[in-house]
């Protein structure tokens, strides 16, 4: 939404915003302010409830997140200055967000609209394995994901190698890997008959040069696609990230702001994560000109977000954003378990259920804590998206969703620390046809039937 005027007004604050030493920013500015607003607004985590229905709590989390963002701002590690905005500027940016965007191209274009709490409209479904993958499996994985019927957008796995050589960030290998990444994606989309499908690309680019190298409406990342630009944990940015903001604004593609507040880190506990998620959403909108926010709060020790200390902030922040804004925001699942385990299916279902009912769109699923190469498949994401569609269309309430979430948590929460890492893609899928093995499909089907018995009304 950033106009050129706003873009440069805000970029300029990297140069003349308030100065702060980097070592002081988190312990002396961010965390004390966060603690202050958590106390001021009386935000308290109730461990027994996954999805609270207290709308006053949601509104207080919104106010706390607003105050946190306004008073802390975003720290630029290159200039050692904080980019801060006024209340009026935040209000203006929120007013200017249209609440919906057409993304993708031609017949594959999709309208992405803001959702409300307990909204009957299905969530916007971005499939993403989030993991890295071997060069020889990248194309097959792209095809496998793009075959998914509920896919509204796709973020492909990250290439680890290009032409047999390890990709090193900010090097020529990264540019080559990015080119290979987008060519694989474009070919896969064409071959499955979805040439205009919405991409979030390219994840292989860690550095701005790789990202900029593949902006091309003929063969590369199009203006109908999106980039995600990260915010460094917590509330920091750098010129290499702001370079992407300027490039994307001038190129004209969609921008998502990628954030991962850490439970147990500078945010503290569940209350701090909830407030920080709201604050990050305002940061994405105002400083990155993001049309959507892509959030993956996670547990410091496990790197996952399917246990109750993360599901609660997801549920509360979703309600805060749903009630008080027209923003678009995806909830990115990180499971403990890996592919072809019953646990990953339970975790994905629970994450999708909690997120959908509390107004989020979905981004599933970083399996096996997003740590291992090739360790994610479309099938766990499929189940998550099917749960999202089902609970939206049946009009599931937060109370009903809470009851099911507690049943699902009882199945896996005790195994979070020692979750099974499952199998790699090529062990769960037939690589040439990009289809799941019978064993894998049967496991998915069993869990889906179990969910149906719990009260999830799947359309098919």
């Amino acid at each position: 939404m950033s106009t050129p005027y706003r873009l440069w007004e805000i970029q300029k604050r990297s140069n003349d915003g308030p100065q702060c030493d980097e070592d002081d920013f988190l312990p002396k500015i961010f965390t004390p302010k966060l603690k202050q607003v958590v106390k001021k607004y009386g935000i308290q985590w109730d461990r027994k409830t996954v999805l609270p229905t207290d709308e006053d709590l949601a509104d207080r989390v919104w106010l706390a997140g607003w105050e946190l963002f306004r008073d802390v701002g975003l720290y630029n590690t290159d200039t050692h200055r904080m980019i801060r905005l006024s209340d009026a500027e935040i209000k203006e940016a929120l007013y200017m967000h249209p609440g919906q965007y057409w993304v993708g191209a031609g017949k594959d274009a999709v309208l992405w609209k803001h959702r409300q709490i307990e909204d009957r409209n299905p969530p916007f479904c971005i499939f993403s394995p989030d993991c890295t993958c071997s060069e020889e499996l990248h194309y097959s994985m792209c095809v496998a994901f793009l075959k998914e019927p509920l896919l509204d957008g796709f973020c492909a796995p990250i290439l680890e190698d290009t032409m047999g050589m390890k990709i090193r960030s900010a090097s020529p290998f990264e540019i080559n890997g990015c080119t290979q990444h987008i060519y694989n994606l474009r070919l896969a989309a064409k071959q499955v008959g979805r040439p205009g499908v919405f991409f979030v690309a390219v994840g292989t680019a860690e550095h701005d040069t790789g990202q900029i190298a593949v902006s091309n409406n003929e063969w590369g990342v199009r203006t109908t696609d999106s980039r995600i630009i990260g915010t460094l944990t917590e509330f920091k940015t750098a010129d290499t990230l702001l370079n992407r903001v300027v490039h994307c604004a001038q190129y004209g593609c969609y921008v998502g702001n990628l954030t991962g507040p850490i439970y147990g880190g500078w945010c503290g506990g569940a209350e701090g994560v909830a407030v920080t998620l709201v604050a990050y959403s305002l940061n994405g909108l105002c400083i990155y000109g993001a049309v959507y926010n892509q959030h993956f709060p996670f547990h410091l020790n496990w790197g996952s977000n399917t246990t109750r200390e993360l599901l609660w902030p997801i549920a509360v922040a979703g309600q805060a954003l749903g009630r008080n804004s027209r923003l678009l925001y995806t909830s990115n699942g990180f499971s403990n378990a890996g592919p072809m385990t019953e646990m990953v299916f339970y975790e994905t279902a629970c994450h999708a259920l909690v997120s959908t009912v509390t107004s989020w769109d979905l981004w599933e699923m970083a399996s096996a804590r997003n740590k291992y190469r090739n360790r994610a498949t479309p099938l766990e994401a499929r189940l998550g998206m099917e749960v999202g569609h089902a609970v939206a269309q049946q009009g599931m309430t937060r109370q009903e969703a809470n009851d099911i979430a507690l049943k699902l948590l009882a199945k896996y929460e005790h195994m979070a620390a020692n979750a099974p890492m499952g199998k790699e893609y090529q062990e769960c899928y037939d690589v040439p046809t990009a289809l799941p093995t019978q064993e894998h499909f049967d496991m998915y089907r069993r869990v889906k039937d179990e969910l149906a018995n719990m009260g999830v009304t799947f359309p098919y």
């Binding site: 990250i158 090193r168 890997g177 860690e206 460094l232 147990g264 880190g265 503290g268 506990g269 740590k371």
Partner: protein, 215 residues
Amino acid sequence: MSLERLCQALEEGAQEEAERIAKDLLNQKIDSKATVDRLVATMQKVGDRFARLEIFLPEMMMSGQTMASVMQILGPKISQSAGAAAALMKGKVVLGTVKGDLHEIGKNIVKLMLEATGFEVKDLGYDVDPLAFIKEAEALKADFIAASALMTTTMPHQKEIIDLLKDKGLRGKYKVVIGGAPTTQEWAEKIGADLYCYDAGSAPRLMAQLIAKPS
């Protein structure tokens, strides 16, 4: 009694109170070795509570800073005891996040845990050139080079450090420790690192074991 109170202040991260008690202790006859052992054990306890997330990073950080400040006050007294000094010098570490990588929360937690349990740490920050790790290790006469990477595309820089050490004929001189979200034991073995730390909490124990092991 004062030591009890000091340990409690340390656990609570009450820096001013801890400094006051430490200054009082300077004027008393204390068993330096026992004092250091108690302080390190207290920090280990704080670290264990953090590992279980009974406390969070800001609280751990406050305890770590309190410990640093207490040691600065007690340092001259403690250094007179060889046993106490040894307990405080488990090894020298050059630590950083590799080139091209701007993530440092994990690295910072490792730093806290190491310093709190008796390692001397030179923190090079993030986006650190492989050669800078080696130059700093040479200057510090370090025991360890510890390199963190949070992205798969920055992991190769961990290997570069080892390759450069080999090329310079310095490989045997330093224990190379790696960590970071996408790294694994398998990766550590593949690139020839001496140690893989799967999380920040495990780093002090694993590194102490490694340095104690006869080479």
